[in-house]
Symmetry: D2
Subunit: 395 residues, 4 copies
């Protein structure tokens, strides 16, 4: 996470390019809405598909200038960096294994990067990319979008403020059911690459959603992981990556405090769960609970007091949540607004960089370092599981 | 409601103007996000405030061309209608009493209108505006935004399909708490005009939120109102418009069926409710329930079967809901997406008009006639309440 | 409601008789469990059915002495009052029209009465019974069992304490779905008498469940009714009593305050509702909500504060709720425990009478006067509905 | 679990004694209500406290014959077994370490035993007790009361019926918050013995509530445990037993199926949870969820279908649940009714034994063998945790 001071808008939207996200993709469309929602970005170029035909068709559908509809991200990085009106930032929304080469190309061309998670498909790439990003001096935003939800920000602020006391326990879970059957064998484009080690990396559910759960826990608690013990399974016959992960966590204690503990359950074979990301945190003085499917609510209990329902922009919620809210309490915001908050924070950072200004301290977005940690988390899960659940540290 | 066939996008976004919605306003910002979300509209002109200073500042903040930042909507209608790149549609987001003159000006200038609800501040204006709209041949969209929620569409489809059997009962409620105290006396801009008969019309809670509840019930059930009995109150001392409405409804039966009945409760003095719009409908074969604060869920019970939770883009939801959804089930959408769906429908209608095409039958948006009915509803509530709750028909 | 000081148990359980409640009945079994739960009563005699065969069989099943298994309540009243070990109290659980003669017989025989609701099948009987009860000096407990729930007691205490400020609004509803079809025509014993005016009285849903909703509202708010406007329907063809009631309420203001208003919805044709009794109360300072199906929870919002979840025997709940709870918070209590609380209060009153002691002020149970008011409520609903919803006072 | 055919009641309630449960105890009162609810048992003797004064006072409060108010369970076992009207069964509700000697004494005196859980404070005692019980031929019922809830029975039946397909995942949790602070140091009687290894055994939260979670998972799924990996903590300084347990589970696969996996979280230091027992089970065809605090609901999702809310005695629930329900759907039952179901099953077993009849196959109660397994579970958790979370089999 990175921070700085709030800045003025200047003359217009930030010029954005996109790699991946052509017809038939899911997350590319989400990134485009997120970029558009606050009017901060304008999509002007794209290498939307590795298939030239689909790249052109996708660009046309998005009203891109055909001259700026590329069939290779390398060409796009090179040519856009030479145009006076070239893109200032690029959104990378390909399968995982392409994040590294694409991000590298744009960073080295001096273009800011907004990259989908996980950062890369292996830890070596992740660390290399972090070094490249650091050297480039460019802004690198990883779209761990759940950290953009106002009530997740609120939760983090409440932990920081000490309302939970000393943290003891973290319970995170992310069950889904869409891979309960071998849909990758029956043509689901979304499934196919996610269960392919060559495209996804070593983690299946672990990488796709476990990293979200882990990142969310880290973001809210600011606890550092000491080690984990994992039991990974591929329940669906023939599946090559894990579709369920049962994980125990040990965090680093602060000073002489008792070591905080935790659990993560990530599953893609749990019928009844569409997208059940949930976080619960408990300390000596209180506990809180947040559920992604009902994101405008945060449940807080001060020990010995009645449970409270804190609502986005409602009573009990503070400025940290209000800052990233668009409508009053009772008017629900959702996934796209949370995703757009990551883009809005990216816009603030990019404008600050454009104007040579210091970034406001309340701007928060996941960085390349969060990305490295996420890939290290997947790597450690896989290693621990292979070692029959031995406690394992992140590399 | 109006319909037609789905059409192709053409060369770019629809050029949009806005009347009202300057700094300090709430609903103007919502309309702008809704217009922007799908990239279908581009805001290019505005008469954002009647205060010239605020009009200019608001325009600058929105990156409007100063030449197209007007201080009067009449001037804007005239000048924009003469520009080759003039606005094709205008969003009217002023207090209620200005809807009529503004809409009239733009319709007569040949510009499509997207107008906030209620249609006007009195029934005479409403009927006159409907005539003007009809005569103009222009598209008129009233932003009863709650009809844009996917699960509201789903509910309507299920009723239409007969899953509830013959309808018997409608329970609608819309409690809020933000006017529990006399905040209009302590400077709340939002409150001040809403409780002023000169700006709001004869209905307070009735007009501001009762019309939403009524419209939602009408939209989902397609039942026509026969008559109502209302008991309106202004609980806060000195308040000139109702802040609570208890209403009984009688709908017109179809054929020889028993007359369906209903209740509406609209309140702005009910502590604990932020924006509690809720609709329940019951028929001979089943019942359903939808709650605005949790809009991705629709509860359906077939008589004698377990209650079902139908989710947006999830199991049990059909193409009518999917058509106006942007992300998969479990990724919550909210108020802005629902609002944007009204704009998306408007865009389809405007593009069809632009291209001389027939509108797809699945395009649905509230029209000027829905607006007349809403104002007639408020008028009947006020008349019934003055007549000690006598059963009263809409004029 | 009646009160006094807490008393010591004495030498053993109170000897109880029962009228009605033979094989095939529902509420009789509930009364027996309620009587048994705290060990305060022992069932020793019964006139369980007007059918001699069923009366005997039912008595045998309950291990009653055959000598004390009667076929007529008159005989039972006479003979039990003459036995030295005769019953001290009788539970009357017949269809409504038998409440009056049965209660009269036992009161006049000097036996305390615990009677199911509604008090009688018509207002004349109700008033006569109240006079008889008063004259007899015997204790008369009406089983408006929902007032026995701990969180209902808690709600009443919070209103009394002023946590809601001046009351403005009451919203009560009691939807069910079990009479959605003409089950009385297909042999449902429960349905048959409930929809028969000769056995039930003039109110259908109004009498069966509307009285519960009204009583609950009265119990919690302690507001007195000024008048009501009702719209009653029999949706099922051929049904002779109402199966749906939409009702507006006006309460008596205290001093110069604005008159509190309310709504009651009672329905037996609302698919999806098993037993949906719900009460919401709003005042100048706060609001609360209680739902019978989830009775261990009370939702409270102080205006401008986060909503609180107060739990039975948990944080935020006070001694009034604890006094009628049996297990710690988080261990749910239900319908039978709430019902048993009415019996426990009755036991306290009967023991106090037995010992010539003053009853503790915290003992609360519905009395014959609450019963008269309930029957008057039904009567007023029927009269108002016949007068096309005219505002009507209780007789 | 044990079974047989349904039997007739005979001449009257079963004569019951109680060991433990004197003044100030919690669970003794629960057992007494459970025994009383259906009129199947009558408490006639007790060794209610090891303190003679409290034993006598407690007996008097319960109207026990002073001759049958004992100060030692050994004396009680001996003398009651010699009386012609002696107790037929005894309820043992002492701290854990006394279960063994008390149960042994009564079994050997030919008296049936109903014993609170965990079975004993160590595994050696547990196995010895199982042998004694077997040899005695007496009925031994362990009050894992949560298996008495109707919807838990329903869940088991649905799994058995194959509605979930092949089981893959089990998620059980049991968080509480009442030991978040060192209340054992400030006089809480409930806390003091529970955190004392001499009275509780080697498990704290593991033994007190983890065993419930494990037993519930076993009961519903009928899966056998292969091994577990546990991470136990005592978060409160100075506490000698675990107050939090994070546990991974591996079950035995059936045939060639993939091994089912699971997690258990048991905690007494999780603010915001009163008694949060929850079970979720997932298979190839569906998933279900049950929450103890809302026990009348069972959530079931058939893969690809909308989630269903199955209610006790409502639509979707079957005869297995109805058999142990007392009131219709929508009339909530709770903890005491669930507990009473264990007593009702015990009564059926005892009456069958009394009458020399075969027990109906639908009678289900936890046996001494379930108790041994529970103690072995605690033992394995402690061993695994000491071995740094190594996968460990039950001894």
């Amino acid at each position: 996470m990175v921070s700085g001071k709030a800045i003025e808008k200047t003359s217009g939207p930030i010029r954005l390019g996109m790699v991946g996200g052509g017809q038939g993709a899911f997350i590319g469309g989400v990134h485009r809405i997120a970029a558009r929602l606050d009017g901060e970005f304008q999509l002007v170029a794209g290498a939307l598909s590795s298939n030239p035909e689909r790249a052109r068709a996708s660009g046309a559908e998005l009203n891109l200038d055909p001259d700026r509809t590329y069939t290779s991200f390398d060409e796009m990085a090179e040519r856009e960096s030479q145009r006076p009106d070239g893109i200032e930032a690029v959104a990378i929304v390909t399968p995982n294994h392409m994040h590294f080469p694409a991000a590298k190309a744009f960073l080295e061309a001096g273009i800011h990067v907004i990259c989908d998670k996980p950062l890369t498909s292996n830890l070596e790439d992740a660390k290399a990319l972090a070094a490249i990003a650091r050297k480039s001096g460019r802004i690198f935003v990883l779209t761990h979008n759940y950290t953009g939800y106002p009530m997740v920000r609120q939760a983090r602020a409440m932990v920081e403020e000490g309302l939970l006391g000393t943290l003891r326990l973290v319970q995170a879970e992310y069950p889904q059911d869409w891979l309960s059957e071998p849909v990758e064998q029956t043509g689901s484009k979304q499934a196919t690459w996610r269960v392919d080690p060559a495209q996804s990396g070593a983690g299946g559910a672990t990488g796709d959603i476990g990293t979200h759960a882990f990142n969310l826990a880290r973001f809210v608690t600011q606890l550092e992981l000491d080690s984990l013990a994992a039991d990974l399974d591929s329940f669906v016959e023939g599946r090559r990556l894990d579709d369920n992960a049962n994980i125990l966590l040990r965090f680093k204690p602060k000073g002489s405090e008792h070591q905080p503990k935790g659990m993560i359950w990530a599953s893609q074979v749990a019928p009844g769960h569409e997208n059940g990301l949930k976080l619960r945190v408990y300390g000596t003085k209180g506990g809180l609970e947040w559920v992604q499917a009902d994101p405008n609510y945060l449940w807080f209990t001060a020990l010995g007091q009645p449970k409270q329902l804190i609502t986005r922009n409602g009573a009990g919620a503070g400025p940290v949540a209000a800052r990233v809210s668009r409508v009053p309490g009772g008017h629900p915001e959702g996934y796209l607004e949370g995703f757009a908050n990551i883009y809005a924070e990216a816009a603030r950072a990019i404008r600050a960089a454009r104007n040579g200004e210091t970034l406001s301290a309340d701007v928060l977005y996941p960085t390349v370092d969060d990305g490295v940690e996420g890939v290290a988390f997947v790597d450690a899960c896989v290693r621990s599981s292979k070692a029959d659940g031995a406690w394992t540290k992140l590399d």
